[in-house]
């Protein structure tokens, strides 16, 4: 072990990614320390989602390296399924499995990927669902739940296997405004519990509130990053100022 206490949990260098002729990521370097909460901000199409997917091994990168702890997870010989099983991802459109009950959605990975006995997995799932007030919906199918409930169930599905890092991809963007609060409240609880989180978000107030660091992405490059206080109060780049101006206007 060469890692020290301050070593990043996730360390990405020189990430490039193109879709056809379109270069979406153009040399991204990003570190994530244990228990750190990082918010990715930027306009739609700036590469936030692609970056999250690349880091979660859900999209192959064209160039660069990604380390999870000491492991180079961008190495093609690495067991990608094993790496994904160590990460948790939540998406904009929930992506719950419509043919499974909420309970089975939450326990699927525990049972199938981690080999946990069904009883144990269900006990854990019930505890988590009770915590977010969805205990009575465990046997329901996702389409019986509101958008906010579905997204909270999706978050519980992602944390059911104790992932080392949570990747949250604009998880409130598809929700009706009145349902955003309950989802952000759950994320806040996870932050308080010490989760390591990388989230792409348009919720500037929330990012300012919970993030340790805010990263502004524009056109596939990191333009500027810093503490929320720095970045929101005194952005140094013109592009950052222009982007933030649209939110305060």
């Amino acid at each position: 072990m060469t890692a020290t206490a301050s070593a990043p949990l996730l360390h990405a260098t020189g990430l490039w990614k193109s879709f056809g002729d379109r270069e979406v990521l153009r040399g991204i370097d990003l570190d994530l320390a244990p228990h750190e909460v990082v918010a990715l901000i930027g306009a739609s199409g700036s590469g936030k989602s692609t970056l999250l997917r690349c880091l979660g091994l859900l999209e192959p990168i064209d160039d660069g390296q990604i380390f999870l702890g000491d492991t180079d997870i961008s190495d093609p010989r690495v067991d990608a399924n094993g790496v994904r099983a160590r990460l948790g991802a939540v998406f904009q459109s929930y992506n719950l499995f419509p043919h499974l009950s909420v309970l089975d959605n939450v326990t699927l990975a525990s049972r199938v990927v981690h080999g946990m006995p069904r009883r144990e997995a269900e006990e854990r799932a019930h505890t988590l669902l009770a915590r977010i007030g969805l205990a009575d919906k465990a046997k329901e199918h996702p389409d019986r739940l509101s958008g906010g409930q579905q997204q909270r169930a999706a978050i519980v599905r992602a944390i059911a296997t104790d992932p080392e890092i949570l990747l949250l991809d604009e998880i409130t963007s598809a929700l009706d405004p009145e349902l955003v609060g309950e989802v952000l409240e759950l994320v806040r609880e996870l932050v308080d519990d010490g989760a390591t989180i990388l989230m792409a978000t348009h919720e500037m107030a929330f990012a300012r509130d919970v993030a340790d660091r805010v990263v502004f992405l524009d056109d596939g490059v990191i333009v500027e990053q810093g503490t929320p206080a720095q970045l929101f109060a005194t952005p140094t780049h013109a592009r950052t100022r222009a982007f933030l101006a649209r939110f305060t206007a």
């Binding site: 043919h99 990975a109 990927v113 599905r157």
Partner: protein, 257 residues
């Protein structure tokens, strides 16, 4: 209700006047619906029908396996699998285009010739049905698999599920619902097409009917065999209608929510 009864009675009267109450009807009845010949033909037709059922039962299993394999091969991604995809696509193109009767001839008479052995007709029938129907069913399965939104795959992979686990736990269960109605339609066609194995010399329902027909110079045995096939198909047809209606109801319910 009254209108329905009234129109039914009227329709029956018209049928009686224009079809049954005509000089030719007696001849039709004598040639196609002769109860004595029907009774005489039934045991033989029934025995033969059991062979059709045997071919059908075995084919359902083999078609399911082969079609699933072909469908999965066709949906494999990545340049490595290009030859496999092409092969699977070529197979479905070829055998969906080939008339079933040609496949029957090639398999039924060709296969024993090149292997120079006697192969039971049931086996030949199953091979021919499997070759043809797997091509149709594979396409239905493939369409079903592709109809499952990619975000479902993404979510499954994000949880750490492997390719096969994702297919089995997430994609196929959802695809199955979408493809059940067209699959049942293919099953109904298959129920009829197993009757064609009589041309291979199988003593099935139709061959049984033919032998009685040629003895009695009467076509009623064919009608008897036909009725057996219809009785076989009706439960599947009703089930398909019921299931399709239920799916539609659900989707509409979902839309309101």
């Amino acid at each position: 209700m009254l209108i329905a009864i009234g129109s039914t009675v009227l329709f029956a009267a018209v049928v009686w006047a224009t079809v049954i109450n005509t000089p030719g009807w007696a001849a039709v009845q004598q040639t196609f619906f002769n109860p004595e010949v029907a009774l005489q033909a039934l045991p033989k037709v029934w025995d033969g029908f059991l062979i059709n059922l045997q071919v059908l039962g075995l084919s359902v299993v083999t078609v399911a396996l082969v079609a699933l394999l072909v469908a999965v091969l066709r949906t494999l991604r990545g340049p490595v699998f290009f030859p496999v995809r092409v092969l699977a696509a070529g197979y479905t193109d070829l055998f969906r285009g080939f008339p079933f009767i040609i496949v029957l001839y090639l398999v039924g008479f060709g296969l024993p010739t090149i292997t120079n052995t006697r192969i039971p007709v049931v086996v030949l029938g199953v091979i021919a049905v499997t070759l043809t129907y797997s091509a149709y069913v594979a396409e239905v399965i493939r369409a079903g698999i592709e109809a499952v939104h990619p975000s479902q795959r993404l979510a499954a992979r994000a949880l750490g599920l492997g390719y096969v686990q994702t297919l089995r736990r997430v994609v196929l269960p959802q695809a199955l619902r979408k493809m059940t109605p067209p699959l049942m339609n293919d099953f109904i066609s298959m129920q009829k097409d197993v009757g064609l194995i009589s041309i291979l010399g199988a003593i099935d329902a139709i061959a049984g009917a033919r032998s009685v027909a040629s003895l009695t110079y009467n076509f009623t045995p064919y009608v008897v065999a036909g009725i057996l096939f219809v009785l076989l198909a009706i439960p599947t047809i009703r089930l398909t209608d019921w299931y399709t209606a239920r799916l539609r109801e659900r989707e509409q319910a979902g839309a309101i929510l």
